[in-house]
């Protein structure tokens, strides 16, 4: 009798639990009203297909703000189910002790084919052979150039520079001075601060050179920075030469000033993120210039590696609630689906992380109509997936970026030679890595 009673109570409870809609929290850092709306629309579409799941989509500030909010929530014991974390937070998240590696979900669920993920994105978020987070908004750096200014300078707009050496030549030819010797148009511009450090990492990958030991921290925890070598020096010299000969302008920290300089046609070439492609195409149309997009240049004679995926990925949090985790996984699969990826990519400028989405867009003629998008996707797909192009993984990454940027600053202001600056950055990086690793 008692057993029957207990059984019926359990059954009722189980039915009640499974019938009740489950709510999951999704935190993201996609500022910009279009992007916030796009994510909300995707969630709405998902909720329509799954009436038993409610997704709370919450914008949580910039990448670092989101990380701060996540840390506070984890330490107070109330984290969200799904959170968007920037690329360099990968190792910190792995070490956080609160996440579920996506690999675990994939291994349990044969309906998800991991091979549909774009190799570069999959490679970045795979550490120690395990895919930890779901790639979502992936980007690379790319060089936008002003074809109209190329023509004015007598350069072939359809033959942009390939090598460092050509790039420096072009930058010089694209520099215009007024009668007083003041520069009114530069060949090249870039944002310093975090962007510049990111570009450095990319140019290392372009030369297929590692940033960190243990295969960039992919085969075991990275214990040393290894970028103070020939490859690193070529990059420092590349930037330094253009700054010192006055053909490049350091726009100051962040992305915005460099964009301002490029869009107002005070510089002919700009290095920035592929995810900017949407806005750049619009800016070129309204600014009456013809926009070109080129791959990152590489030093001549050095075998080409590729670019590293940047942007952010989606992390599943261990909530000890099977039902919520199941719902979160379902939502993730939806976000990775071909249709969702097409909506996301065409609406933002990030490239699709699902191969089928790229194929479908290609067949539909999207890339034929929008060549700049094709360049961004091609650069990614033509990259070799090697330890170098998968990027570094270490919890000390933010400090390393600061150190690299500071080293560039010391070189630009002639406080150090390129060699000294590079060496200094590596020492700083090693110290930060040692500090971080001492905890694990």
């Amino acid at each position: 009798m008692r057993k029957v009673f207990l059984f019926s109570v359990l059954t009722v409870l189980a039915v009640a639990i499974f019938a009740a809609p489950v709510t999951i929290q999704f935190w993201h850092a996609m500022g910009g009203t279009d992007r916030i709306q796009l994510l909300q629309n995707l969630a709405n579409e998902f909720m329509q297909q799954n009436p038993d799941i409610k997704v709370d989509v919450q914008y949580t500030g910039s990448y670092t703000d989101t990380m701060t909010k996540m840390i506070a929530a984890v330490r107070a014991g109330n984290p969200p189910d799904l959170v968007m974390i920037y690329d360099i937070g990968t190792q910190m998240m792995i070490d956080s002790g609160v996440i579920i590696p996506i690999q675990n979900m994939i291994d349990k669920d044969p309906s998800f084919d991991i091979n549909t993920l774009v190799p570069a994105s999959r490679g970045y978020y795979t550490v120690g052979g395990k895919l930890y987070s779901m790639p979502f908004n992936s980007s690379n750096p790319v060089i936008f150039y002003n074809k109209t200014l190329f023509e004015k300078a007598g350069l072939d707009p359809n033959n942009p520079p390939n090598t460092f050496e050509e790039f420096i030549e072009y930058a010089k030819k694209l520099t215009v001075k007024d009668a007083n010797g003041n520069t009114i148009q530069y060949g090249f511009t870039f944002g310093s601060g975090e962007p510049l450090a990111w570009f450095f990492e990319q140019f290392m990958a372009v030369q297929n050179a590692l940033l960190l030991n243990n295969n960039n921290g992919r085969d075991g925890r990275a214990t040393k920075a290894v970028f103070a070598n020939e490859a690193g020096l070529r990059i420092f010299n590349f930037f330094n030469e253009m700054i010192q000969n006055g053909s490049a302008i350091n726009a100051g920290p962040g992305w915005d000033n460099a964009r301002q300089i490029f869009i107002s046609q005070r510089a002919a070439m700009l290095i920035t993120s592929t995810s900017d492609v949407n806005m750049m195409v619009k800016a070129a149309q309204s600014g009456n210039f013809s926009l070109g997009v080129m791959f990152l240049p590489h030093p001549s004679g050095v075998p080409y590696g590729g670019v590293i995926v940047g942007g952010a990925s989606l992390w599943m949090v261990n909530t000890n609630n099977a039902q919520r985790e199941e719902a979160t996984w379902k939502f993730l699969k939806f976000l990775e689906s071909t249709d969702a990826q097409i909506q996301w990519s065409t609406g933002t400028g990030y490239f699709p992380v699902n191969k089928n989405a790229i194929i479908k867009l290609l067949y539909e003629g999207y890339y034929a109509k929008n060549p700049p998008y094709l360049v961004t996707v091609l650069q990614l797909l033509m990259s070799n997936v090697t330890p170098a192009t998968r990027g570094g993984a270490t919890g000390a990454f933010p400090q390393i970026r600061t150190a690299v940027d500071t080293a560039f600053g010391k070189m630009f202001t002639k406080a150090m030679t390129p060699q000294q600056a590079l060496q200094w950055a590596q020492e700083q990086a090693n110290q930060a890595i040692a500090n971080y690793n001492s905890m694990y």
């Binding site: 992007r35 919450q58 949580t60 301002q260």
Partner: protein
């Protein structure tokens, strides 16, 4: 004599206009940007006046982030903090300025040292843990209660009350007024301009809080206007600066209206008449 006064007024007006223009230049940039179409924002040479008074930026900014609701939240938060900080600051400032009591220096020092705690940076995580245990996350409680008192206001009110002549207090005592009546009926009316000033400052402080509201709220129904402005900023892509500046200026407006009302309290001579009678 009258002519001299006229010339003086004109000179002062001219000087004021000159100084205001210089100081407002960066804000003027915000105003023109807010009225430009995206295609006009980044041109060379930089243009001062927009070609088209593109009001659409304001409409976009207001509608795309539900700014009305966000500003209402900010308003609730800021008014509560302003009132709390100002009242508690007056009370504690009064205690330190007009009374001698055991431990007053120690207590003042304990309060004073909190001025130097970079609270907005270092306390986020422990403070959030308190909110979680109080079940205040995502409520107005979390947005307001931690900021209801501060050393800044206490210190200011102490400094101000100390400038008020002691004879007034003695006179009030002779008239049989208790310390609370003295505060309410004499001290506060005499301090209108300082209290008005500190109220505005406290309002601005709360109005511009960003990281704390972001960490402690979890829904768009509880978010504040500063979070809304951040929503307008594209990440990893060129932003629509016209819309951002339009949003910024709309969010700025309540503070300026409040200040305009308060600055009327700054009239020379109030204290004098209070003293002479």
């Amino acid at each position: 004599m009258k002519k001299n006064k006229m010339i003086r007024t004109i000179l002062i007006e001219a000087l004021l206009i000159f100084v205001t223009i210089i100081i407002l230049l960066p804000l003027f940039l915000a105003v023109t940007m807010s009225l430009k179409k995206p295609s006009e924002v980044f041109v060379y040479p930089p243009t001062i006046f927009p070609n088209s008074f593109y009001i659409q930026n304001y409409i976009n900014a207001f509608n795309s982030i539900n700014l009305g609701r966000l500003m209402l939240n900010s308003l609730i938060m800021s008014v509560v903090i302003m009132i709390g900080k100002t009242i508690f600051g007056i009370l504690s400032g009064y205690a330190f300025s007009n009374f001698r009591f055991k431990g007053s220096s120690l207590l003042f020092a304990l309060l004073f040292v909190t001025l130097f705690m970079p609270a907005e940076l270092i306390m986020i995580v422990p403070l959030f843990q308190i909110m979680q245990s109080l079940h205040w996350v995502n409520t107005y409680w979390a947005l307001t209660v931690p900021f209801l008192a501060s050393a800044t206001t206490t210190f200011l009110m102490r400094q101000h009350f100390m400038t008020i002549p002691k004879e007034l207090e003695d006179a009030a005592k002779i008239d049989g007024a208790g310390p609370m009546r003295f505060l309410l009926e004499i001290l506060i009316p005499l301090s209108k301009s300082t209290i008005g000033g500190v109220a505005v400052i406290n309002f601005v402080y709360a109005w511009n809080l960003y990281l704390w509201p972001l960490v402690v709220t979890n829904s768009n129904e509880m978010a504040t206007a500063q979070i809304g402005l951040k929503m307008l900023t594209n990440v990893e892509s060129t932003s629509n600066w016209g819309v951002i500046m339009a949003g910024t200026l709309m969010v700025l407006a309540p503070t300026l209206i409040l200040f305009f009302a308060v600055q009327k309290l700054f009239v020379r001579g109030i204290v004098t008449t209070g003293l002479k009678e």
